[in-house]
């Protein structure tokens, strides 16, 4: 009924020598990410903006997968699309109505803000270009398996991991406690 070992697993595509195919895919996903981000900024309906943001997140995840970073790519989808986007949606829906969708998105002071944005971008771009990091040769793509990530998390970074885990569990229990106190009546 189903396939056996197909030669098209995601990781193998990225490791193949077909640089051209990769750069084509990369361009597609990069455009998707940027278009999503621009749409998120420029759409008038807030929920549309969130949906565009989800497209942007998904595009970024695809780029991660393309680079062979399976864990980061899938975690990106799980965390950003599955949790953060939903959180934003809830925040938007619970705090305001449809809002004023007729008004132009361009505010009066767009020239000044645009200038500030260009200057900031220029400074950052110059800093990156001038720094030593841009002179370094491209390292070979490391072969990272899930097992290596697991080993690193469980051996070298076990303390930070435990601390974060403890923090998150406390936050979770705190949230439950806060939610519980609200209704004292019997259920």
């Amino acid at each position: 009924m189903e396939a056996g070992e197909t030669d098209l697993s995601l990781c193998r595509v990225t490791r193949s020598d077909e640089e051209e195919g990769i750069s084509l895919l990369f361009t597609t996903f990069a455009i998707l990410t940027v278009v999503g981000a621009v749409a998120a900024m420029s759409l008038r309906q807030l929920v549309h903006s969130v949906l565009a943001l989800i497209v942007s997140f998904a595009g970024l995840a695809a780029v991660y997968l393309l680079l062979g970073a399976q864990f980061v790519g899938l975690a990106q989808v799980l965390v950003y699309v599955g949790a953060i986007a939903i959180l934003i949606v809830f925040a938007v829906l619970l705090t305001r109505g449809d809002g004023d969708t007729k008004r132009s998105i361009v505010v009066g002071s767009w020239r000044q803000s645009g200038a500030v944005a260009v200057v900031v971008f220029a400074v950052i771009a110059w800093a990156i270009y001038a720094s030593a990091a841009s002179q370094r040769a491209m390292p070979r793509q490391p072969e990272v398996s899930m097992r290596q990530i697991g080993d690193a998390l469980m051996v070298r970074f076990v303390l930070p991991l435990e601390v974060i885990g403890l923090l998150l569990t406390v936050a979770l229990l705190g949230a439950v406690t806060i939610a519980m106190q609200e209704k004292k009546e019997r259920r």
Binding site: M1, A3, D7, L78
Partner: protein, 391 residues
């Protein structure tokens, strides 16, 4: 002989692919596998709708569909033609684009879930290193699709249904993932294929499934309860509670788009049952060592059908939960139980084999179940219900 039958579909796929140009072979064999997945699970969906309606009919003391074809088993074809020929209504106040995209995204995501499920020996579309993570990542996209459907309909019932669905899916995702983490710990692999391989082998006639450990037993039930909630099925079907909010997030969908929601929901249920089978029930391996001659895919689909029947049975028997009961159950019972179970799996791993391990870990499961259950029901006034009009 047994091996030939077992690998029949894999061989068939390779044979067809070998008759195509060399450069195209990987693409062709993937396309073949995708077509097989689409066909088989769409067919299973059609079968399940009949099974469900007949099963529910039995439970409710009526016949169920029995007019189209032998014993009514061609009913899905009639339903399909009906949904295709019906008018596709889109409300004037709806957000047209999002309204159209929502069912498509839902079905796409639901089908994508099957990519990492091993349906038999060597029968997996992609053997990802992070297969389980992939599954959860894709299933979280379904939440977005459901929200899109509810919001874009421009109807308060749809909106309420979508909010309920998303809140429920997020709440139950926590125990679902925590229950799966125990298996990932025990198998020390995130790959679905690796997890199935880890459960291979038999002691006497009994298999080494994770279900047959104290933490696996608790984990399986936590997983399946969360899975029921994730697939919005009764008794967790508040998002589409007919008596309260019409049909929830797909109230404003008609014709084929409605059928797509139906399809997406059932595919989600199959996929999550499939993951449950992969994680706890040994995937495609046989339940007894003397039954290993039966092909692996048979066992996978047999287990899947058993799960589906369980789902139908539960739907026919249990009443729907109230929203606060749903949330209390998730956060006050499922979550602590899953956290304790996580510790339990670690304890099990480090204790030496023997009776002591069984007593300690089994005891921990039993004690935590009783204590948490008591805690949940504390303050409930359980008394005989008085019917004012029915008696």
């Amino acid at each position: 002989m047994g091996d030939t039958v077992d690998q029949f579909f894999v061989t068939l796929q390779q044979w067809i692919a070998s008759h195509t140009p060399v450069g195209l072979q990987p693409v062709i064999s993937t396309v073949l596998a995708v077509i097989a997945i689409l066909g088989v699970f769409a067919l299973l969906f059609a079968m399940t709708t009949v099974l469900e309606r007949k099963g529910l009919g039995r439970i409710q003391n009526r016949y169920g569909p029995n007019r189209v074809g032998p014993w009514g088993f061609l009913q899905p074809i009639a339903d399909g033609i009906k949904s295709l020929t019906k008018e596709d209504l889109v409300p004037r106040g709806a957000d047209k684009t999002v309204h159209l995209l929502a069912p498509i995204l839902l079905v796409l995501a639901a089908f994508t879930l099957f990519a990492v499920l091993p349906l038999g020996r060597n029968m997996v579309l992609v053997n990802l290193d992070a297969g389980v993570l992939f599954f959860f990542a894709v299933s979280s996209v379904m939440e977005v699709a459901i929200f899109m459907a509810g919001w874009s309909s421009g109807n308060k019932y749809s909106m309420l249904g979508a909010m309920r669905a998303v809140a429920q899916m997020i709440s139950y995702e926590v125990p679902l993932i925590l229950a799966s983490v125990t298996v990932i710990m025990a198998a020390s692999s995130l790959s679905t294929v690796g997890i199935v391989e880890r459960q291979a082998g038999y002691t006497g006639v009994l298999p080494h499934w994770f279900l047959f450990t104290p933490w696996g037993f608790a984990g399986f039930f936590l997983f399946m309860v969360s899975a029921t909630a994730e697939s919005n099925r009764s008794p967790f079907d508040l998002p589409e509670g007919e008596s309260e909010i019409i049909a929830g997030y797909f109230t404003e969908y008609s014709g084929f788009k409605f059928a797509l929601f139906f399809l997406g929901e059932y595919l989600g249920m199959f996929a999550i049952s499939g993951l449950g089978i992969t994680l706890f029930l040994g995937g495609w391996s046989a339940p007894f060592s003397f039954l290993t001659w039966i092909p692996s895919y048979f066992w996978f689909f047999a287990k899947l059908l058993v799960m589906i029947v369980m789902f139908i049975w539960i739907r026919g028997t249990l009443p729907r939960l109230r929203m606060d009961q749903l949330m209390n159950f998730a956060w006050k019972f499922m979550l602590p139980m899953a956290l304790i179970n996580l510790v339990n799996a670690g304890v099990w791993h480090f204790l030496p084999h023997g009776v002591l391990r069984w007593l300690l870990c089994g005891g921990l499961v039993a004690v935590s179940y009783v204590v948490l259950g008591r805690g949940l029901t504390q303050g409930w006034k359980l008394e005989k219900r008085i019917y004012r009009f029915a008696e």
